[in-house]
């Protein structure tokens, strides 16, 4: 029999976990609440319950423009970063690779540096190179930023691949491209996908780097910042709720995909 004392740690752990969840998700909940009802003098006016602020958002061209920009930037930068990550990981794991350490430093640095430094560096670089700031520079900034994540995931998976599989493929008569197609890519596919989703999440709510390189273009987080400067409207809450929702969904996908799937081997 368990005594009450034995259960105490479980209670405490449960309580702490609950508190953490409340602290983390209460603001989300409040944003959600404020986006669908009005609150006056600390009272929730349930009769005002409506989704009209979401509709307003939908018909707000500047918000929709920012949304489509964010989508374009996220998609292109993720595709670029993922393909680059794959190529670079294959290169650094290749036994004849030279400058492996230098290359890895270059890949990781933009992610490890404070975004403000990365953003500023990109700004200076684009100015020096005479690039017009706009969607292209944002794509570039995001690609550079999320590359590290995609690269790390692909590389880890690649390193987990027993070298004998590649030798076996050659041994059975395959060339380099056949080995890539039939052995390496299937092995890396899920890591590439996970890396892409994670990169998408990062790109979706990236703000600081975007601030420097956006020029006159707006992404959703930038739009949000701009809107908040003029005051807190229910629309902002609607927008925040949407951004959070998308982020959470992507995060759940990543967490689910990164969960190790153990396969039990028979003796």
């Amino acid at each position: 029999m368990r005594s009450a004392g034995d259960r105490l740690p479980i209670w405490i752990t449960g309580l702490v976990t609950g508190l953490v969840f409340i602290l983390l998700y209460l603001p989300v909940f409040i944003s959600l609440l404020f986006s669908i009802v009005e609150i006056r003098q600390g009272k929730i006016l349930w009769e005002t319950l409506s989704f009209k602020h979401y509709v307003t958002l939908w018909s707000n061209p500047s918000v929709m423009g920012a949304l489509s920009n964010t989508a374009i930037v996220a998609l292109i930068s993720v595709v670029v970063a993922t393909v680059l990550a794959l190529v670079l990981a294959l290169y650094t794991e290749w036994e004849g690779a030279i400058g492996r350490r230098m290359l890895e430093l270059v890949i990781y640095l933009p992610f490890l540096l404070p975004p403000i430094v990365t953003g500023l560096a990109l700004l200076v670089a684009s100015a020096e190179l005479g690039l017009n700031r706009g969607l292209a520079t944002i794509v570039l900034g995001h690609a550079v930023f999320v590359l590290a994540v995609a690269y790390r995931l692909v590389l880890t998976r690649l390193q987990a691949l027993p070298h004998s599989l590649i030798e076996a493929s050659f041994d059975l008569g395959a060339g380099r491209f056949q080995t890539l197609r039939y052995v390496l890519l299937p092995h890396l596919a899920s890591a590439v996908m996970t890396g892409a989703v994670l990169a998408l999440t990062l790109s979706f709510d990236e703000t600081l780097i975007s601030t420097f390189v956006a020029g006159d273009q707006m992404t959703l987080p930038l739009r949000l910042w701009a809107m908040m400067r003029v005051g807190f409207s229910p629309e902002i809450n609607a927008l925040v709720t949407l951004v959070l929702l998308v982020s959470i969904i992507l995060a759940i996908i990543v967490a689910w995909r990164m969960k190790p799937r153990g396969q039990v081997e028979e003796g």
Partner: protein
């Protein structure tokens, strides 16, 4: 003709892992490279397979120089120690990988794959993934995958190392049967002496990057030519002495005889090797007086551990046929031992 290595060497920087060695493998032969870890046996196999580049020498197949030929262009296939099955492919897809990348398809190839899976007894498991297979089954898939490519030589890198004892014995027999059935050259790497003896047509014993001896299992077992080979198989009796005449040795255990002294000069320091099963109780042309230290009953055989009376440091090992009524000496008994001088061999010390 077959496969031939001529003065092939391998160096990693200043470290010579394989001293220049020459070796010929006949077509259809089951050749085993046997040696402890670090002896260079796997390096030889990898050189044959094209996974390691030789630092010197030539590799020939059917008279053609294949030293620089890439692994995917050699008519050899390898069964890897860890099986190296593609985890995302089923048994059938694994077996069909060779034909797939070699762009061989059609009914004939499909039948070849089916037949091969049948031979290795995997037809029922064709849709399973490697993770759903046992060690022995994976081993069979790896073998089937190689056989399907119809190679001229199959290279096997310690393929039974990961299996338990019972399965090992089954697979030894199975591999031997398969090899006879498909009439393909097998080059087999192992560190297990029993495995080498039971399976091979010829054995290449290796140590520290050199070939110690090449010969049939019987040769290697009964006629070792080097000290290393003499000590490598089981509990060989090794008695140090000096060769005093064409067939006479002076040892601390007395004067002993040996007919086979080829390659040894009179006056040379030698080891006389007598297999435990060649040593008998009783008197004969040569007699060694010995004291029994222990008698260990082992079912079919009883093992006697003795030492020579003239020199306690000369340990001797003898096998007696078992049987319910067999009389075995007891520890402390003084006995006479003898052997046929034709069954003994000397190696230089």
């Amino acid at each position: 003709m077959g496969l031939e290595l001529r003065d092939v060497a391998k160096r990693y920087g200043p470290v010579e892992v394989l001293h220049p060695l020459s070796l010929a493998v006949a077509n259809g032969e089951f050749l085993t490279l046997l040696g402890p870890s670090g002896s260079g046996k796997t390096t030889v196999l990898r050189l044959m397979g094209g996974f390691t580049e030789a630092s010197g020498g030539q590799i020939l197949f059917e008279g053609q120089d294949i030293t620089m030929l890439a692994a995917n262009r050699r008519p050899f296939n390898t069964v890897f120690q860890d099986y190296a099955l593609f985890p995302h492919m089923t048994v059938l897809e694994n077996a069909g990988y060779g034909p797939l990348v070699q762009r061989r398809n059609g009914a004939k190839t499909a039948k070849l794959i089916d037949d091969t899976l049948e031979i290795v007894g995997l037809s029922a498991l064709r849709d399973r993934y490697p993770a759903q297979l046992s060690g022995g089954q994976k081993q069979r898939v790896a073998l089937a995958r190689a056989i399907v490519c119809e190679p001229k030589v199959i290279l096997l890198d310690e393929p039974l190392a990961a299996l338990d004892a019972t399965l090992r014995r089954q697979m030894q027999l199975f591999l031997k049967q398969i090899q006879r059935r498909i009439e393909t050259t097998f080059v087999f790497v192992t560190h297990d002496q029993d495995e080498a003896i039971t399976m091979s047509d010829r054995i290449v014993v290796m140590s520290q990057g050199r070939i110690e001896q090449v010969g049939t299992p019987k040769d290697i077992y009964f006629k070792p030519r080097t000290r290393f080979v003499a000590g490598f198989f089981g509990d060989n009796n090794l008695i140090p002495g000096v060769l005093a005449g064409p067939d006479r040795l002076q040892t601390t255990a007395g004067e002993l005889l040996c007919t086979d002294t080829s390659g040894i000069r009179t006056g040379q320091d030698v080891l006389l090797c007598i297999r435990p099963e060649s040593l008998k109780l009783g008197q004969g042309p040569v007699t060694i007086r010995a004291e029994v230290e222990e008698a260990i009953f082992g079912g079919a055989m009883t093992k006697l551990i003795l030492h020579a009376v003239a020199d306690r440091s000369v340990k001797l090992d003898l096998r007696l046929a078992g049987g319910q009524r067999a009389e075995t000496p007891n520890p402390g008994d003084m006995v006479s031992l003898t052997y046929d001088p034709a069954d003994a061999v000397v190696v230089s010390r």
